[in-house]
């Protein structure tokens, strides 16, 4: 008789949830096969598999609080959405609360409140995270801590009339990433990425002699930071945070592709000292090339979401160019039929590629 073995301790929450999903899928597929093929597994083996799976699922629930049913999964998704919206609302509430009453406080009282708020929030975060398996409340408190720290430095700058500096973004980004990695919070990771994107882009701008706050006027300032974040997971392995690489890739890619898209439509905002039409043509080709390369890279290395983003921007780049070329003179019905026809051609091309990948995987 085969006995089920206890958990061997090699699971984290994400691995446990994936295994739980596979068990559920296995059970559903087995049930389907039993009906279609009248499949009949030997009773002893069937019971052993069932017992092993039950033990695993019980242990996963106990240790990681994973979702073992579809109802639980739906509920968890709802809780994540509520946690996110609640975090935004609380963070905004903290900011508005401070602004409502800060004029009634002396400078020393203002400084005390500003410094103690993020510290208290971090203590609350530590307390919450050590007690919950799902970071629902921790995400909420973590975002409040980040918002309180942003408010802290921003208002200190206002009170003491300090010259604005891009270093604030570096500090905010570092704080957010510190919390993200310490408490495994993707929301704080995103805050950290956005803050550091601003800092790096502003720094690149100052290297070109710009005032730092003008970095947004030159989209090329965002390109180095975008590429850096896209390749960060390759440079720094994330074994303990397997959810994090996707956010680096998504935000890095969005930054680069959006910057190129803007430049392909408005050459005036480029650093390049050529006529704006020539600059736009250059960035149009670059945008299409980068989008295509992104699709290939995403499929080649099996990176989730990356091919989808690349495909989306490929289509946006193409369609916006068609709009520029044809909208003014072509009858509208012809324009949309032509877009539809091009979409059909793209579908046929992608289908051929898909078939090629299928053959490769079978081989």
């Amino acid at each position: 008789m085969v006995t089920s073995k206890p958990l061997n301790g090699h699971y984290d929450r994400k691995a446990a949830q994936l295994r739980s999903n596979r068990i559920k899928a296995f059970r559903e597929e087995l049930h389907q096969l039993q009906q279609e093929l009248a499949l009949d597994l030997p009773t002893a083996q069937y019971q052993a598999i069932q017992a092993h799976h039950e033990a695993l699922l019980r242990e996963f629930e106990r240790q990681f609080d994973v979702d073992t049913t579809s109802h639980q999964q739906q509920m968890s998704l709802g809780m994540r959405i509520v946690s996110f919206l609640g975090a935004l609302a609380l963070a905004a509430g903290v900011v508005f609360l401070f602004y409502r009453f800060w004029g009634l406080l002396s400078v020393s009282q203002q400084v005390f409140v500003l410094i103690s708020t993020p510290i208290l929030a971090v203590i609350g975060l530590e307390f919450s995270r050590s007690r919950e398996k799902h970071p629902y409340f921790s995400s909420l408190i973590g975002l409040v801590a980040f918002a309180a720290f942003v408010l802290n430095l921003h208002v200190l700058g206002t009170i003491f009339n300090i010259t604005p500096s891009p270093n604030a973004f570096l500090v905010w980004g570092t704080f957010a990433l510190l919390l993200a990695y310490s408490y495994d919070l993707w929301l704080l990771q995103v805050c950290g990425i956005l803050s550091l994107l601003a800092f790096l882009s502003a720094t690149v701008g100052t290297w070109n002699g710009l005032y730092w706050l003008s970095f947004g006027f030159r989209p090329e300032n965002f390109l180095p930071a975008g590429f850096l974040f896209f390749f960060t997971p390759l440079l720094i392995p994330h074994h303990r945070h397997p959810d994090f690489p996707i956010y680096y890739r998504v935000f890095g890619l969005l930054t680069v592709l959006l910057a190129v898209l803007i430049l392909s439509h408005n050459g005036d905002v480029s650093y390049l000292r050529f006529p704006s039409e020539d600059v736009e043509i250059f960035y149009q080709f670059l945008g299409l090339g980068l989008a295509g390369l992104t699709i290939w890279i995403g499929i080649r290395w099996n990176w989730r979401v990356v091919p989808n983003l690349g495909g989306t921007f490929f289509v946006i780049d193409l369609y916006t160019k068609f709009f520029d070329w044809w909208w003014d003179w072509m009858p509208k019905y012809q324009f949309f039929f032509l877009l539809g026809l091009i979409s059909l051609v793209l579908l046929i091309v992608f289908q051929k590629f898909r078939g090629k990948f299928l053959k490769e995987s079978v081989a």
């Binding site: 409502r100 009634l104 307390f127 430095l153 919390l179 003008s214 650093y271």
Partner: protein, 303 residues
Amino acid sequence: MSWKRLVVSIGLVLLANAVVLGGASLNRTGIPQTEITLTEREVPLDYGVFRDEENTGVSLRLEWKKITYGNPGQSYALKWKKLSWFDRKKLETIGYDCSVAPDDPQASVYYKKMLPKEVFLVLEYEGHSWNTFLQKGEEKLACKKKCFHEGGHPLKSFKWFQEEFHEQRTTASRLIVIDVGQDPASLRTRYPDASQFLIVRGLVQPRYITSENTNSDESFPPFVKGYVKEILINRIHVPREFQEELKKLYQAKHKKNDSKRNRYQPTEPTYEVSLTFGSRYEPWITALRPLTSSKDGLLPMSQ
């Protein structure tokens, strides 16, 4: 519970605050760069103060004069060119590459791509530049009056300028930007009187002027000039100890005037503020005093 991650997170918060507060303290210790007393004309209340319930903070705006008058009869663009000390040569001293001649075919693209740069500005308070402004304004007013009487200008145009100049003369800021540079120490050497010349951080940018983009009737060759975009620290926080006095003055002013005042009638300044700029050229308020005013605080309308 992990004490290590708690300590590191809190440590970062404390370190960041220590750096910020240390910098603010450094600014306020040592010999101040400027100590100057300005009136409500130069440092009026910031927008929404004492009216916005969502924000009880109080700050003053640092206002500087942006309007200039040329010689009577001079075109708008030529007035800019002749009055402007902020020419290509000056732009080059602050790091802009102005080697492309304004009449070069590539000049438009070249200069339009230039973005703002952070520099130090010298603002003169109620000095020679202010007197020049008044003199030019009087000359222009006399010219417009003469043109009106001779039938060349409509009454509306003359009246509009008369009211604008009256407002500028009686209530607008008397701070005028007279120089820019990248080294504040050398600017202070050139303008040593710290009670009359403010040195502050600001943003400047080149501007490419052609007869097309100024809607001028006269045709003239294109030229390049600099212009001051903004003063970087143009909001000055008012500490709590001065807020009560400021609020009383604000409420008294609006109570006195609302029933009597013509919407366009200028009002007297009601307070003066002593500002100190520290070693990092960041200001703070050291004193705030009410100014005695006429019974209703209103200034006479222009004649």
